[in-house]
Symmetry: C2
Subunit: 503 residues, 2 copies
């Protein structure tokens, strides 16, 4: 058979068949899928948010067809989707990186303060064009600036060689877990509740998640003895625990680890040779207590007991998506690989090189985040500080208002918010509602979230997507949504829900 | 043992030990690495480019210590690294997306043409803030614009539901191969020579690459009969061929497939139920002949013989990194999933959602690329067309100059450049040089590239990184480097190399 452009064009033009003949093969189907992909779950963008998108489309074509007029996205930490304004400083510098011709414009000083112009010129001389691939590990001078930031933060020196700029922290997690997981014999300790990126990435790598439970009644604290037990039990089942994920400040819990707690965790890692993955993307979102980096505690321990802590590997992650500015769509992030051996670093470098490089404007944004305007005389410093403080005040007051509301709701318990962007209240779901959920073949907390969505438009994520103690039910909600009306809506819904299903 | 912040601070302050006691575990080492990561290779950023970076560092500290004064990066298609200027239109619009406050600035009309302002306003109303996560598949209205572009290009309608915006085409390849590969029984046909992203991603997924050879003597054309043989042979070995990668225009070959050739390939895919992955990122880089999308031919065939072609799945990839603007660092891309069944699309959607979303400015850049200013009265149209034409003329003339130089070199054969950004000349490496390479335990073409680098600073990639017929040797070079001096340097080097090693 020889099909040519001419024979085909003639056949189509004359409405004739081509008279090609062969037996077509069946279509690729679900049996051809990678079973690890089928196994992976990612609740933050799971069925409840998907249903919210459907409802949003219904509202667009028929605004008064539902009991609410808008979808309230409390399911994902995405501040700028909720009308939070970006920091002026970030965006001014980024616009100059995208369009350096502006630096030559006549009225530039009318629109850009001098310190913005200076920083943009500095960054352009480090980076070159933001349209060129950088090195896979990121631009060298930007990595040096990150190392300086870490030194200022922790009081222990850092090296640019250990810094990898990444496309958000998610990419860093993928690189780390892909590098060390080699099938079901590889175990990774994850906190329960956890951010579902971890279980999803472990499923994709066909590795074994080793859950350790955070203690809800103690403000979601971490119990090192439980971590030890999980490690010992895994080893006894022939699973090598390769890494231990710690999310601090916690997602979805909002809890902050104490210095002493971190010291205990790192000691466990030293005893068992487990890499620590410190997800510290919320390090700026602190309302109560103090954030201490795991790296700082590790370096303190290493200084006191060099031999005992010589073998600890620590990967510390940060991101431009969180903090007070929430520049999620810009996809900036970094990881520091502390105390990694060369072969592990080489494996990770190879993985990053297959992806060529992280978005270069995202790399620049990391630099702007960790090196904000500080000069008291700088024109941008005042504006930057005002904008930052206003956002922080709002975050804190919103978290408090939502916490207060939960405390008042029947059968709801909530830990005091300390950091991050989320609350994770425990909800006592009445037996009748649990029965109804069973009938519908969904988890009880998924039923609660679905009802909340259908009645109010408030989109949250059921605790089952993050993990929880068997028989308990939770909901994760951000406290980013402006105003208090939606909190009132939730309170009203909850009352109705309890009235309907109470025993 | 209980270490506290106080006990630790005291110990460090007094130069004492902590008297913690446990037996530290050994450090994670190469034995703990994922063997698939060890197996993966990515030559574009392999040993020759790594050595080039070392030499660049030497030049920085000691500019006259080497026989050349600068590194010439011909190893990677990265135009803006080589001082190609970005298109004014792209960067003007992107700067407004980053800093929408500019739209309110007093002198905006002095610096931005009205059509730039209009497009930025349109995009901002589609996207919202570029700092918010978009949907994982990308912004709906941008995907609709991509579908319009595909319709204009191919004359067959496309749907926004089938468009996935991605972080460059590399991310799309990862999603596709991860979704369908489930171990060594999954085979994927790749052209030889190929872009090493494919073999690297297959190695990470522990799937089996099924090489099919392009015919160098026929301008690197594709032989459908050979593809059939490779498929049949794989099936006989118990390997299911799940996908067939076609790179058109070719990388590293620079060849363009004819309509008839594409029809043959799609027919093979229909016969054997193999997904076609059409890597069409160089579709704008065409100097000779005509680019025809695989999708257009598929849709033509389907129109003529609906039953025979009903089961073909086609994924078509595009990118902002290539074309004439080469905005590599912005990480924009898209894939269209043509005729995919729902479970396959759902699996890919899940994979994209674990990564949250592609960079939003990269998504916007895709829209700017596929929907450039066309209004003859628009202020930007003329500038855009001039800049585009100037770049295309340069690419064509540089490819010709390099081709002419290769034709003159002893023992070098090169196919006429038709598209993309590369030439892939075949180099007859004298036996004495092959012996020397063997002594050094490197491939003969890697030896040639290393010598070229050490003598001239020209960084290229050996053919062995892309695959080649056993016993033949090639070099991949971009033709993006400005000027002709470096071509002269290469000619001189080649003459010396041959004089040194000729039998």
């Amino acid at each position: 058979m020889l099909i040519t452009r001419t024979s085909l064009a003639n056949a189509v033009a004359n409405g004739q068949r081509l008279y090609a003949s062969f037996k077509p093969a069946p279509k690729l189907n679900e049996l051809d899928l990678n079973p690890n992909v089928i196994a992976a779950e990612y609740a933050v963008r799971g069925p409840i948010p998907a249903r919210a998108e459907e409802l949003r489309a219904i509202l667009q074509t028929n605004p008064s067809s539902l009991p609410f007029s808008t979808i309230i996205n409390a399911n994902i930490g995405n501040p700028q989707q909720l009308d939070q304004q970006p920091l002026t400083w970030y965006r001014q510098v980024l616009s100059l990186l995208q369009n350096p011709m502006l630096l030559k414009a006549k009225h530039i000083s009318d629109v850009y303060p001098q310190d913005v112009v200076n920083r943009a010129e500095d960054l352009l001389s480090s980076i070159g064009s933001v349209g060129a691939y950088s090195g896979s590990q990121g631009v060298q001078l930007l990595r040096e600036s990150v190392a300086d930031f870490i030194f200022r933060r922790d009081g222990h020196e850092a090296s640019a060689d250990d810094i990898f700029l990444t496309g958000g922290a998610s990419a860093a997690v993928t690189y780390l877990l892909t590098a060390i997981c080699s099938g079901p014999d590889s175990g990774v300790l994850i906190p329960i509740p956890q951010y579902p990126l971890y279980t999803a990435t472990l499923a994709l790598n066909n590795a074994t998640p080793l859950p350790y439970y955070l203690e809800e009644s103690k403000g979601w604290s971490t119990n090192p003895d439980e971590i030890r037990e999980v490690i010992v039990s895994a080893i006894s089942r022939g699973i090598k625990p390769k890494a231990l994920v710690v999310i601090n400040p916690g997602n979805p819990t909002g809890a902050i680890l104490s210095y002493d707690n971190i010291a205990d965790i790192i000691t466990v890692a030293a005893e068992y040779g487990v890499m620590v993955i410190a997800d510290e993307v919320y390090q700026e979102n602190v309302f109560r207590g103090e954030f201490v980096s795991m790296r700082r505690v590790f370096k303190d321990l290493q200084a006191a007991e060099p031999e005992l802590y010589a073998n600890v590997l620590l990967a510390s992650l940060h991101s431009t998506s969180k903090g007070f500015s929430g520049e999620c769509g810009q996809r900036g992030g970094y990881m520091e690989l502390v105390n990694f051996s060369e072969p592990l670093k080489a494996a990770i470098t190879k993985l990053t090189s297959i992806n060529l490089c992280p978005t270069v404007t995202g790399q620049a944004l990391i630099e702007l985040m960790i090196n904000p305007p500080r000069d008291a005389d700088g024109e941008s410093t005042k504006v930057y500080n005002q904008e930052r403080d206003a956002i922080m005040v709002q975050l804190k007051s919103r978290s408090q208002a939502l916490y207060d509301a939960f405390c008042k709701m029947e059968g709801v318990e909530c830990q005091l918010p300390e950091g991050a962007m989320y609350l994770f209240p425990k909800i006592t779901i009445p037996q009748k509602a649990q029965d109804k959920a069973k009938e519908l073949n969904v988890a009880p907390d998924a039923f609660y979230c679905a009802q909340l969505l259908e009645h109010t438009g408030i989109c949250t994520v059921p605790g089952s997507g993050f993990g929880q103690v068997e028989g308990t039910f939770h909901v994760r909600t951000t406290f980013l949504v402006p105003g208090t009306e939606w909190v009132q809506l939730w309170e009203n819904f909850h009352k109705q829900f309890m009235d309907e299903f109470r025993g």
